[in-house]
Structure formats: structure tokens, C-alpha cells
């Protein structure tokens, strides 16, 4: 109904869509891209693309949220491919500096001592997990983000990623295990 009103040119309906989905889309972009600046740009791009292709949405093919997430995921994958070269260059730089300074992920945490404030502590844990998430391969990252952060069911994830449900489950489990291994290594080094 909201989509139909929006396609008919109702600006208020479009604003309602933006208000409803901007948080979800921004979070997906933030967790996938890793930086808030990139996430803001990507979220805007998602909405621009959505606005242009809104008339092509077919409610019989799936829920609107799945359609929106599919657009987001496709755009994120495109962005990942476009910036691949930059990341290769960055990783080469990081490798050379790693040989010199040997600074693992655990040392990137600014204050290694346990902070007295619980809020600060949980924020730092969140940052560490976010950094570890960014180290997962894009296939595993998108699967765990959709499942554990966005609470999509397996069928919806399979629709968005265009892979069978079995593959979705496998990727989610591999992603979780990989993330746990990264974090265990990190905290072992901190201790």
C-alpha cells in the first residue's frame, strides 16, 4: 500500500519508507563496509536506487523488506568489488608495516587495561567484534550479518543471496566459527 502510494507520487509515502528502513539499511551497510562514512554514502545510494526502481517491485515475489535488502546487498557487493584494488594496496601497506612494528588486531585496541566503566568496556568489545567481522570474507560476512544482526530467516537470506538454504546455513556457521577464532586469538594476545 505504501509502495503503491509512493509510485503514484505521494512524497509523504516515500518519506515514510525512508523513515522506516533507513536504520536497517544503514546498519547493514555499516557492518559490511566497516566505516560510518562509507555506510552513509552507501545507504544514500541504496535509497536512490530504490526510488528509481520502486515501480518494479512485485509484492507477489516477496516481502518489501526482502526486496530492499536484496538491493542493499547487491550494491554492497558492487562496492566491495570496486574497492577491491584499494584494499589490496592497503593490505600490502599493512603487511610491510606489520613486519616492522608487528601490530596485531589486539594491539589496535587503544587501552589494553580493563576500563572501570562497564559502558566503555562494552563499547570497546563492540569495536573489536566489528573489526573482526570486517576480516571475514564477504560471503560469510553478509550471511552472518543478515542472520545474527538483522534476524532474517534462512529462506529470506537464501532469496537475498540467491543460494540454497543449506548453503546459507553452512556459511552462517562457518562465519560464526571464523569470527570466534579471530576474537579468541585477539583476546589471547591481550591477556
Amino acid at each position: 500500500m505504501l509502495v503503491r502510494r509512493c509510485v503514484a507520487g505521494d512524497a509523504a509515502a516515500w518519506e515514510e519508507i525512508v523513515q522506516t528502513y533507513n536504520r536497517r539499511i544503514y546498519n547493514i551497510c555499516y557492518r559490511f563496509a566497516g566505516s560510518s562514512d562509507d555506510a552513509e554514502d552507501l545507504a544514500q545510494e541504496v535509497f536512490i536506487k530504490m526510488y528509481r526502481t520502486l515501480a518494479s517491485y512485485d509484492s507477489s515475489k516477496g516481502a518489501f523488506v526482502t526486496w530492499v535488502t536484496t538491493i542493499t546487498r547487491n550494491l554492497l557487493v558492487d562496492h566491495f568489488r570496486k574497492t577491491k584494488q584499494d584494499r589490496i594496496t592497503d593490505s600490502l601497506d599493512a603487511t610491510s608495516s606489520a613486519h616492522e612494528d608487528a601490530q596485531p588486531l589486539s594491539e589496535q585496541i587503544q587501552d589494553q587495561s580493563a576500563p572501570p566503566d562497564q559502558h566503555v568496556r562494552s563499547r570497546e568489545v563492540g569495536e573489536t567484534v566489528h573489526a573482526a567481522l570486517a576480516k571475514l570474507s564477504p560471503e560469510l560476512r553478509e550471511a552472518v550479518i543478515l542472520r545474527d544482526l538483522q534476524d532474517f530467516d534462512y529462506r529470506e537470506i537464501a532469496t537475498v543471496l540467491k543460494v540454497p538454504e543449506g548453503t546459507v546455513k553452512s556459511r552462517i556457521n562457518r562465519g560464526r566459527a571464523e569470527l570466534a577464532r579471530l576474537l579468541q586469538r585477539t583476546y589471547r594476545q591481550v591477556m
Binding site: 557492518r31 545507504a43 545474527d148 569470527l179
Partner: protein, 282 residues
């Protein structure tokens, strides 16, 4: 995930690849009964699947600890500006403003306005783009500069009469002013004078080959009022020209001065009348 080709072992009636397929269900809490017991028993005894399950569970817990981040405050505004070109604050005021009770006509008018604004939305969005505003500004600036250079003042526009006669008068006035201005330009004047001199110098040279032209002059249309020049005819008695009846134009056949240029074919069949005139015309 573990390499099950190497470590595919049966433990408590469950194989590793079977265990792998049930990990998600076990974590989601959909696994019950004997399957759940068998799953946990396999996790306890299998050296590969046990740690794997612990890692998956830990990873899931880490991810669940992540909280949603707040999007930037300007995100919604930026999205709306970049899509519809409309600032959200204005829309929000419009949406939340209480609608006053209105009559039938007012309601109709309101709906028509809403329809028109909906239809005009994409155009209005384009018009409000910064680049469009920039182009419009540049065009306005160029026009105002051109008008000021031409001496057109906006105050004069009010005094313009739009009657056909006045328009015609203005047109001819303007045309005359333009012609006068053009003729009075020093360069044009000099060029015109130089062309005139060149024409005068070239005139005799051009008139030579056409000297016989005046013979073919059309007397009816001669309006020059100048006396006719009859220099082609020589009626003096000293002349020995023979006048030949029915002779073709050209040099006289029996002209004694032009004997050497006699026509080789002197048309012998023609009746030739040889008459010498001794009359003197005054």
C-alpha cells in the same frame, strides 16, 4: 568447518556431516527429543565437532552482543533531498499539521492541488537541483549583461505601446537607426569609399569590349533624358561605302578598303544593288 572426509566418524549413532547439518537447528532451539540428545552426545565425544560447535556458539554470542548503531541525523534529510529534492522538515510539518474541516469545494480544490503537486514532483525535483539553479542563474546573468550593453532599461519596457501601428513605427525607427549607425561607422565608410574608387577605375576597362552595346540600346526604355549619340553612321560624301540591299551584317563585300578581307563565299545568288549616295544629310 572441519574436513569431514578425513574425520567422518560415527559417535553415539551420529556422523560428523550429519552433526554439521544440525548445528543451526540446535542453536536456534528447533532440535528436540532424541535428535538433540544424540547431537549433544556427539559434541561431547567427537574431537572435531565438539570444539566446532563451541566456536559457532561463541561466534553467535559475539555477534548478538553487537548493538544497532544510530544512523547520522542528517541521513534521512540527505536521502530525501537526493531523491525528491525536498527537505524533510517541510514535509514533516505538512504531514503532522492538523487538517482543518473544509467544505466540498475546498476538498475538491485540495485534492486537485495534491494531484498536481504529485504530478509536478519529479519536475520540481529536477528544477531544484543545484546544477539547474546554477544554469538558470548564468542564463539570467548573461541576459541582463546583454540588455545593459544594448541600452535596454527595464523601466522603458513599461512605456512600450503594443498597438500594431506603434509596433510598425518602432520597427521602422529601429531599422533606420541601425542603418544610420552602420553607415556612420568609420570603417564601413572607408571601405565603401575604397570600393567606389575601385569601381570607377575599373569602369573604362570593362566598357571597352562592350562598345557595340549602345547600338543595341532599347530606345523605348531609355529614361536617361540624354541626347542620342549617332556616331556610328557616317553620311559624309567622302565615304565610299556601298549600301547593299539584303546583305548580311558584317564587312561590306565590295568595300575597296577591305578587299583583302573579302568573303571567300560572297553569296553570288543574292541580287546585289550597287548604289552610291551623294545626298548629304543635314
Amino acid at each position: 568447518m572441519p574436513d569431514h572426509t578425513k574425520n567422518d566418524q560415527t559417535s553415539n549413532g551420529m556422523q560428523c556431516h550429519e552433526f554439521d547439518g544440525l548445528v543451526s537447528d540446535a542453536l536456534d532451539g528447533v532440535l528436540t527429543g532424541t535428535k538433540l540428545d544424540g547431537f549433544h552426545a556427539h559434541a561431547r565425544t567427537c574431537s572435531v565437532c565438539g570444539p566446532l560447535f563451541a566456536e559457532v556458539q561463541a561466534g553467535r554470542n559475539w555477534l548478538k552482543s553487537l548493538t544497532e548503531v544510530e544512523p547520522p541525523v542528517s541521513l534521512v534529510t540527505n536521502i530525501l533531498v537526493s531523491t525528491t529534492g525536498v527537505d524533510t522538515q517541510r514535509l514533516r510539518v505538512n504531514v503532522s499539521a492538523p487538517q482543518p474541516r473544509m467544505g466540498w469545494m475546498a476538498a475538491r480544490w485540495e485534492s486537485a492541488q495534491a494531484w498536481v503537486s504529485g504530478a509536478m514532483q519529479p519536475i520540481w525535483g529536477t528544477v531544484r537541483q543545484p546544477r539547474f539553479a546554477m544554469s538558470f542563474g548564468m542564463a539570467f546573468f548573461s541576459l541582463s549583461v546583454a540588455l545593459s550593453v544594448l541600452g535596454v532599461k527595464p523601466a522603458d519596457l513599461r512605456q512600450i505601446s503594443l498597438r500594431p501601428a506603434a509596433l510598425r513605427h518602432t520597427y521602422y525607427n529601429t531599422q533606420a537607426r541601425v542603418v544610420r549607425y552602420y553607415d556612420n561607422i568609420k570603417l564601413v565608410y572607408e571601405v565603401q569609399a575604397a570600393v567606389r574608387v575601385l569601381k570607377r577605375n575599373a569602369a573604362p576597362a570593362e566598357s571597352r569590349p562592350g562598345e557595340s552595346a549602345p547600338a543595341k540600346k532599347d530606345h523605348k526604355n531609355d529614361t536617361t533624358q540624354q541626347p542620342e549619340q549617332k556616331q556610328d553612321r557616317d553620311y559624309s560624301q567622302t565615304g565610299n561605302h556601298l549600301i547593299l540591299a539584303c546583305a548580311p551584317l558584317g564587312p561590306s563585300v565590295l568595300d575597296p578598303l577591305n578587299q583583302d578581307r573579302l568573303n571567300p563565299d560572297p553569296l553570288p545568288d543574292l541580287p546585289v544593288v550597287s548604289v552610291t549616295t551623294y545626298r548629304r544629310f543635314v
